[in-house]
Symmetry: C2
Subunit: 95 residues, 2 copies
């Protein structure tokens, strides 16, 4: 099998990050609130002003959890990351 391309590698990384944190407790294919908190703390340090602030994590969960099951599934996670990546991409590039 040929080496994965850059795009395939990025897609695989998104899947493996989600799986790594979703596996730690409860349903293996869902992020609970505490799994979401630890993913954000470790993978997107700085995104949450204060990851220990329950209200901030509650709000993020509410924003991501489109089907209201109090968990984040992979498609909800990818929609969030896609939006975040678009925001980063549209930022003016440093000269």
């Amino acid at each position: 099998m040929a080496n994965p391309t850059q795009l395939e590698t990025a897609m695989a990384m998104l899947m493996s990050v989600f799986d790594k944190y979703a596996m730690s407790e409860g349903k293996k294919d869902m992020l609970s609130k505490s799994e979401l908190r630890s993913l954000m703390e470790k993978e997107l340090p700085g995104f949450l002003k204060n990851p220990k602030d329950q209200a901030e994590v509650d709000k993020l969960m509410k924003d991501l959890d489109h089907n209201g099951d109090s968990e984040v599934d992979f498609s909800e996670f990818v929609v969030f990351i896609a939006a975040l990546t678009c925001a980063c991409h549209s930022r003016p590039k440093k000269k």
Copy 2:
């Protein structure tokens, strides 16, 4: 600055793949049809049955081009990759 995390790296890779192909002709922040074809051929080999088949590329462009400007911008690209990644993630894992 701390090393980028796995998630930050994946997001940066999505941006750099898009930019690499979008820069080659026309508007620097858009994929023309021929740029989309070459991105697909090189970055997702096998996705298009026949990348030389104009009709297949036309159909893909139509599916991705939500605002009908005959080009693919970064958000249209990321929505496509997010959907593709979800499809890959939900495939039954090989035992």
